[in-house]
Every structure is written in structure tokens, then in C-alpha cells.
Symmetry: C2
Subunit: 242 residues, 2 copies
């Protein structure tokens, strides 16, 4: 839990997974789906809609990771997935501009309550940035809306690779001119942290037990011996001396 | 000077050239050169050293632009140029770690006095970011040191092209999900602004009459009909309604 290895290099950058770790994508997307359909007097189970849209996220990125298609920003994958979910739900009422707007719901996700305060503290001591599969525009718009004080937007679009491919982590560290062990990944997901650790990153698990709603089954506990395990970003800031 | 064309799309992002426009590279590099040599009791004309180092900047990038070498971040080009200037000045006293430190002088450049206040105002109304040939690490370290409140670091390393190649401007706009005419380049250099305008960017010339010292001959006046011509960043913020 602590920085106990005396020969360790100083930590320089604290980089964050975003969907689920920084923002509550499920409630935010559900809200946007409801808003988009309200004008058409159409009602759906918006949480289920959000879950289905998110469920297509990993399969879409897998096509890039496998080399089946060239790297494309997440906005484009989200749009293909949206069209598929709309078909599944037999929703045909949305115009093209309405679909474009709904697709950008992922730019308008609300952060968990501890995020802004925790990031402000961490920013005083470290470079703080995103290491997300979300594209640059998505991250910038989310940050402007939610007052997220990032020093830098890194991750998939900068590294041209989707997590958990090593290039996503290594390319982000390289862009900062840092060695992997000068960087920490903060995430609420064990798979992401394991992949980062294999690249030499330090790791911090943050608990987000409601990312998938009240009945969440996965990622409820830290499954590895991470450098830090924190209740939230303020707790992490305290553990890192900020 | 004003946003007079009624059918113009709203301006969304104000993007900045950095060396000379945001920071006073000449005085800052000269200060770093003096500091690096002071321990060795070596004295040089540090302004001339800075000018020579900077003079090798465009030729180095030309090798990338022409395709002679693959894209490499500016830190690497700066290092090759530093080695050449040290040889020209017959300076052989610096150790490898001292050269590494001196090369990162470009990460420690001071901003002009109006910059932080102007950027804070502009940030309230627009996405603000760098559109520089400097690499991401350089921009992040400069911003941390100088409290530059960028929303996003764009430019050469993200677009994989050095200005004034069109891809540097167009790739930066694309990373924000914006059309070129939703973006403005702010620069103290006519060539940069002309290239941006040819890509469809809006343009703002900011006067930096001492970038090259008291005897500056170039870029003293705006040579085109830019959208804005401003004394400094605070003046630009006022012109943009911030």
C-alpha cells in the first residue's frame, strides 16, 4: 500500500482510466437516452439501453486490436454500436442530427462526487492526465463540462492503440518523456491495472462499486497487490501525500 | 478585426503557437545556458548561443517535413542541435547528464507577463490548447512550471507533422472533432498564421516585438488581414468577448 521500496524512482505522473473510474457512464448515458427519446414520446429502460451500448464497447475495440480494422477514434466505434442498439430496441424515430447528438452523450458524462476535489489535490503534486480509450475530443469536452483539471490528455488516440494493449500504456508514458515506473495508472478495473503493471506502471485501485448499478458483480475488490487501494480520489490523494 | 460574417460558425477552440508567442524562449534559454556553464567557470554570449540553437530549429524540422527522416519529437531534434552548437562554441566541459538537463531548457521557458491572465479569461469561453511544434512532454512540463491552464496539448506530436505542414493544423482540429473554421490559431509569426489560414483556421496575430531581442526585424507587424490583431493575450481575450 505504501511507497516502501527505497530505491524506487519518484512518481511523476498519475494517469486515469476514465469510463467508470472518473465518470458514472451508466447513469449519465441513461439520462441522455431518456432525454433523446422524450421528444418522441418513446420510453425505454434507459439503464438497459446504456448497458447494451456499453456491452458492445470491448468487441468493437477488439476489431482494432486484432488488426481487422485500422485505428479509429472511439466516437466512431460508439456510433456504430449506437446504430446497432437502436435496431435492437426497434427505435426508428431519431433523425441523423439527433443520433449525432446522442452519440456524443459519452462527452457529457458526470464525474463521481469525489473526482474534482481529488484531482485538484493530486494536480498540485503530479502531472495528472487521462489514459483512457476515449478519444481526445471526448476527453476535452468531458473535462470542460465537468471542470476536470487535467494537465494532459493521453491514452488510445495519442498512442494509436486501445487498452489493454501494451502500446496504450507505454506510448502514454513515452509521450510524457517518462519511464513506465514514473507513472501510475488509477482504475476501478482489475484487468486494466494488471495490464498496466505488466508494462511497469505503478497501480492504484479505486473502488467504484456502483459503476454497473446496484447489482454490480465485477471489480468489487482489488484482485492484485496494487501499490495503492483507495476508497475514492480524495483518499488516493491523501495516500500520495497531496 | 471582428466576427463580422454573419453565417460564420461559432468559434470553439483557440489554439496557440508557443515558442515566441506564449514564452520568451530567447531570454529563458540564455539564462539556462549561463546557469549550465557557470559551474564550469565558462562564459559565453548566452543570447548568441540561444539564437544559434534556435537557428537550427527550422532546418532540423525540414528533414522530417521532407521525409528524409521519420517523425521524431522536438526534444530529439533539440538535442542534435545542442550538440552542434556546443561544438561551434568549442564547449567541451559538459557531462552527458548536464547536456540532458540543458536540452530540457526548452521545458523551462518563461511566459510573457500577459499570458496566464489572458489564458484564464479565454479558457472560460473556449477550449484552449497548444498547437506547437514542441512535443507533448515539453508542453506539459512548461505548463506545470508556468501555470499555463491548457485544456489540451495538440500540435506536431499528436498530428505527427511539423508546422507549417497542413497536417499539423488539420490533425489538431480533427483531434478536437472540430472543423478548421471552428478553430483559431494565435501566433506572433506571419508564416504560421498564413499556413493556418490556408487550412481554413481563423487567425489572430499577437505582437511579440522582443522575441528576438531588442533589435528584432521580423514579424513586427501583421502582414495579412487576420481575424484579430492583438497587443497581447489579455487584449485578445477582450476582443473575443472573454
Amino acid at each position: 500500500m505504501s511507497e516502501s521500496i527505497s530505491e524506487q524512482v519518484p512518481l511523476r505522473a498519475v494517469l486515469f482510466d476514465v469510463f467508470g473510474t472518473v465518470v458514472d457512464w451508466r447513469a449519465s448515458v441513461a439520462r441522455e437516452v431518456q432525454a433523446a427519446l422524450a421528444d418522441h414520446k418513446v420510453s425505454v429502460d434507459s439503464n438497459t439501453f446504456a448497458d447494451r451500448w456499453r456491452a458492445l464497447y470491448q468487441p468493437a475495440m477488439s476489431r482494432v486490436r486484432s488488426g481487422e480494422i485500422d485505428f479509429v477514434p472511439l466516437d466512431e466505434l460508439h456510433r456504430e454500436n449506437l446504430d446497432q442498439v437502436l435496431e435492437e430496441f426497434s427505435i426508428e424515430c431519431l433523425s441523423e442530427p439527433e443520433k449525432v447528438h446522442l452519440n456524443l452523450a459519452w462527452h457529457r458524462l458526470d464525474s463521481w462526487p469525489d473526482v474534482v476535489g481529488g484531482l485538484q489535490r493530486l494536480k498540485a503534486g503530479y502531472v495528472i492526465g487521462t489514459l483512457s480509450n476515449g478519444n481526445i475530443a471526448l476527453m476535452v469536452n468531458m473535462a470542460k463540462r465537468g471542470q476536470l483539471p487535467w494537465d494532459v490528455i493521453l491514452g488510445a488516440e495519442v498512442a494509436r492503440a486501445y487498452k489493454p494493449q501494451p502500446q496504450a500504456y507505454l506510448g502514454s508514458a513515452r509521450a510524457l518523456g517518462l519511464a513506465p515506473d514514473e507513472c501510475m495508472l488509477v482504475a476501478a478495473h482489475n484487468d486494466d491495472l494488471k495490464a498496466a503493471a505488466q508494462c511497469g506502471f505503478r497501480t492504484a485501485f479505486v473502488e467504484r462499486p456502483f459503476e454497473h448499478g446496484p447489482d454490480q458483480q465485477s471489480n468489487l475488490v482489488a484482485e492484485n497487490d496494487y501499490d495503492h487501494i483507495a476508497r475514492d480520489f480524495v483518499d488516493l490523494a491523501k495516500q500520495l501525500g497531496c
